[in-house]
């Protein structure tokens, strides 16, 4: 079976959803939609045995073969892991949304259409082997995420959050496209597999570092790394199933996927290791630190997601070190990254759903109004407890295992000696440990402020009670996964994680089962990580107890200096700046634009003439000068002077006629009888036309032009005049080929049977020119007639008749 087509299954199903929503009113649309991710999940489970043997599966659908753009579904360990997450958590989220989204109040058709589009996009991102289709699906995730965040489009905040996430992720997406373009230039292919095969040569290419930076920009914006995380907390305006699905389990991990997928290409570079590990750790610390500042449940979870994504990112960076050393602990880092990715998806998905349940049952998500819900909502509390403690990194939950591995990897970093890690390496475990302390604190903060303490029922908009079991089903499944994975980590490792590790580092392993990692919960008292964890629990508890004492510290940071303000200022500033810029040079006065045009024209042409050393005067090619032409030239220049300096329009018009007649005289002098004839007639008619309109035309008026304006005008005008003279002299002196007129002279009698060469050219050799010149005259006549006769609006008519 061509399983590449399965990528499109959700989006094709999305076409049916509006009809289902409209005609099957008795049943919640979600139940029907649920079939899609569930069927996909079960189908993709069948790939596990193949992956365990280190195999991969490929399926192709040609799209634009001539450009090498093909939908290639390439499933290896990494793709399969993500695919299972997308379809598995997708099923649970749809199940949850059936109970969360009200059948009567909400527009379910749109909701599930967006969700299914997103599912296709995400499957496409993780399965694409072709960078162009990867980019296509990547942008589709941005667009569907935009639609989902703005689902309640009547709310201001939803629209703001949707726009913000769109701006940031699309910016990153475009940067990533740049990286793909550079990669395809370097490797001459769009296929990721083929690029990976060429990785050793690519390192030496000149664009390598630029491609690396652009790719990381794409990954960091999508995965909400510092400083691009600002869109994620605002995206919490989306319905909770969306937050749980997109903004904790799947879409924000697309950047992680990208980093993992391209590690075989870029991982050998020290810039990559520094950036991925460093930014990851910074994000980890930043997110965990600011999570405690938040008062909204979903905002706490959003910052927690930011922080955990940073953790996974830093582990991927540390994992890339295994290209440079045989130290087994760095191979462990990649394993830990993927392990934590799964763990995070399970516990964070569950926690979001619990936050949604609390919102649904109490009417608020404000942690200051909540408290003491433990006895009212025992099942929700249990799930939240499991999720929070796993997030904090406590046994017996899966977060503990990955947190231990994370601490081990970070501690190992200080012993790594290449790339200046010997100097700065000590920072990594310290930052990681402090961040873990804050993680522990905000986990307790989330759990205990909501469920423990005094009941504040009178403050709540609704009378709280336990959620319906259907709504709790999905979070309970996720919570049980949290527990199960803790007890059978090595089975999960064997089935899913080791094939994924092999996909991230294909050159290091021949077979997934040679990934030499055995996860164990207990390392004995000699283990560093154990003591670090004990320290985290001790200090974290202390922090939690003293929260009221040090929480005011957050107020030290002025609101003006936050990253959100920075984003807002950037958007406002570019809006206003661009507006100001265009108003600056587009002042609406035609003279200004003409000044730009003339000044540019003359300066550019004169400059080119002299820079290129193209100015030549060749006097020998010039014709002899005659007395008549000198006299005529003097008359012409005088007439021009009268036109320019006259204050009387009659004099100006007559002088213009004088210019025309002396031009006609030039035509006589230079042996052009037809021209002279036409010029005389036309000039006469023109002057007559001017005089006809004379009565209706305004008097000549300088309209308050100052001397300064006149001087500027004169300088520009003079430069144009000089430019024309110089170009005329220069081009006349450097003719490259003789005129083709000899042919006309030779054949005018024999071919065309005429004697007047000019007339024969006009009607015979080049008759088309004449045809359209007649058309121009006809159109001009119609236009003149139209403008004089037509009166569009009544108001104008009255004006005319005055």
């Amino acid at each position: 079976m061509e399983f590449v087509l399965l990528i499109f299954l959700p989006v094709i199903f999305a076409l049916l959803v509006p009809f289902v929503a409209k005609y099957l009113k008795g049943i919640h649309t979600g139940w029907i939609v649920l079939l899609v991710p569930l069927a996909l999940f079960i189908y993709y489970l069948s790939f596990i045995p193949l992956m365990m043997d280190g195999g991969h599966a490929i399926s192709e659908l040609k799209w634009i073969p001539s450009l090498g753009i093909t939908f290639i579904s390439y499933i290896d360990g990494l793709s399969l892991l993500f695919t299972l997450l997308i379809t598995g958590i997708g099923s649970l989220v749809v199940l949850y949304s059936v109970f969360y989204m009200d059948k009567k109040k909400e527009d379910l058709g749109s909701f599930y259409v967006y969700l299914l589009i997103f599912m296709t996009a995400m499957l496409g991102v993780v399965q694409s082997d072709n960078t162009i289709t990867l980019y296509l699906f990547w942008e589709l995730t941005s667009i569907s995420s935009f639609l989902l965040i703005g689902y309640w489009y009547t709310r201001d905040k939803s629209r703001f959050g949707a726009l913000k996430s769109m701006m940031i992720t699309v910016f990153g997406g475009l940067m990533m496209l740049g990286a793909f373009a550079l990669l395809s230039i370097m490797g001459n292919t769009f296929s990721i597999r083929e690029l990976i095969a060429q990785a050793p040569q690519l390192v030496n290419e000149p664009y390598f570092t630029l491609a690396l930076a652009l790719l990381l920009l794409g990954a960091f914006t999508k995965s909400a790394q510092f400083p691009f995380y600002v869109w994620l907390p605002d995206a919490m305006e989306a319905p909770t199933p969306v937050s749980a699905y997109l903004h904790s389990a799947t879409m924000v991990k697309a950047g992680i996927y990208l980093v993992a997928r391209f590690t075989p290409i870029f991982g050998t570079s020290s810039i990559w290791i520094w950036l991925v590990t460093g930014i990851g750790l910074l994000t980890l610390f930043w997110g965990s630190f600011f999570a405690i500042k938040q008062t909204d449940l979903k905002a706490i979870l959003a910052f927690s997601t930011v922080s955990q994504l940073g953790l996974i990112m830093s582990l991927l960076g540390a994992g890339a070190i295994s290209y440079h050393t045989t130290d087994a602990v760095f191979a462990l880092a990649t394993y830990a990254a993927i392990f934590h990715l799964i763990n995070h998806a399970t516990f964070k998905g569950g926690l979001f759903m619990i936050a949604g349940i609390i919102d649904h049952e109490t009417g608020t998500r404000d942690i200051r109004k909540l408290g003491g819900l433990m006895s009212i909502m025992p099942l929700s509390f249990t799930v939240a407890l499991i999720g929070s403690l796993s997030m904090a990194g406590l046994p017996p939950f899966n977060g503990f295992l990955s947190k231990e591995m994370f601490l081990d990897s970070m501690v190992a970093l200080q012993h790594f000696e290449l790339f200046n890690f010997d100097t700065w390496g000590i920072l990594f475990p310290i930052v990681a440990w402090i961040a873990s302390v804050f993680t522990f604190t905000y986990s307790l903060y989330f759990l205990l402020k909501t469920f423990a303490g005094q009941k504040k029922l009178e403050q709540l908009p609704k009378q709280p009670h336990e959620a319906p079991i259907g709504m709790l089903l999905a979070p309970m499944i996720l919570a049980s996964l949290v527990l199960i994975i803790f007890f059978i980590p090595n089975l999960v490792g064997k089935w899913i994680i080791k094939p994924a590790v092999m996909a991230v580092q294909p050159t290091l392993y021949a077979n997934p089962q040679t990934v030499n990692v055995h996860v164990q919960a207990w390392h004995g008292f000699g283990s560093t990580a154990l003591w670090l964890t004990i320290g985290i629990i001790a200090v974290g508890s202390l922090f939690y107890v003293t929260i009221p004492k040090w929480q005011p510290l957050y107020n030290i940071q002025p609101a003006k200096l936050s990253l959100n303000e920075g984003y807002d200022a950037l958007m406002r500033g570019s809006d206003r700046g661009m507006n100001r810029l265009s108003r600056l040079y587009m002042d609406g006065v035609i003279r200004t634009y003409l000044l730009y045009i003339f000044a540019f024209l003359s300066v550019a042409i004169i400059a080119v003439l002299f820079i290129k050393d193209a100015f030549v005067i060749d006097m020998t090619s010039f014709a002899a000068i005659s007395l008549y032409s000198i006299l005529n030239a003097i008359i012409l220049v005088l007439a021009v002077g009268f036109v320019v300096f006259s204050n009387n329009r009659l004099a100006a018009i007559i002088s213009l006629g004088g210019v025309g007649y002396s031009v006609a005289l030039f035509f006589v002098i230079f042996k052009a009888p037809d021209l002279a004839l036409t010029q005389l007639v036309i000039e006469t008619v023109s002057v007559a036309l001017f005089l006809l309109a004379f009565k209706h035309l305004p008097a000549l008026n300088s309209h308050g032009e100052t001397a300064k304006v006149k001087v500027v005008n004169f300088i520009i005008a003079l430069s144009v005049g000089v430019m024309v003279t110089l170009v005329a002299l220069s081009s006349h002196s450097q003719k490259l080929i003789p005129s083709i007129s000899q042919y006309y002279k030779d054949t005018v009698a024999t071919e065309a049977g005429g004697g007047n060469i000019v007339n024969v050219i006009l009607v015979d050799y080049r008759g088309f020119d004449t045809l359209f010149e007649i058309a121009v005259l006809a159109i001009a006549g119609i236009a003149v007639l139209g403008m004089i006769r037509l009166r569009v609006s009544r108001k104008e008519t009255t004006d005319e008749n005055k």
């Binding site: 090619s621 320019v644 030039f666």
Partner: protein, 113 residues
């Protein structure tokens, strides 16, 4: 001869651009008139001012003026006449509607941008 004509053409262009940059609509139209004269003379000059006879076949004449630029100018004269006529009428209409020929007052307002 070409040197003289080139300077005359330069003067024509200078005067034309100076008028076009002014604020009075009528001056702008006068300027375009001068500009077309300059352009026509430029074409003629660039074709070469040599040639002792007009380009009409006659016995014993071999040194004709170049006919091709003349044909081009003839076309250009007619077209510029058409354009001038349209501009003139447009100016008349505009003056009738807006009661001003000051180009600085004739700018769009904010409703249009």
């Amino acid at each position: 001869m070409e040197l003289l004509l080139a300077i005359v053409i330069g003067v024509l262009f200078t005067a034309a651009v100076y008028l076009i940059l002014s604020r009075s609509l009528l001056k702008i139209i006068l300027g375009t008139g001068l500009l077309s004269h300059g352009a026509h003379l430029l074409i003629l000059t660039m074709g070469g001012l040599g040639g002792t006879a007009p380009p009409v076949l006659a016995d014993g004449v071999t040194d004709f003026a170049d006919p091709l630029p003349q044909a081009l100018i003839l076309t250009a004269i007619v077209i510029s006449f058409g354009v001038t006529a349209v501009m003139l009428v447009m100016a008349y209409r505009m003056y009738a509607v807006h009661k001003t020929d000051n180009m600085n007052e004739l700018r769009g307002n904010d409703e249009h941008d």
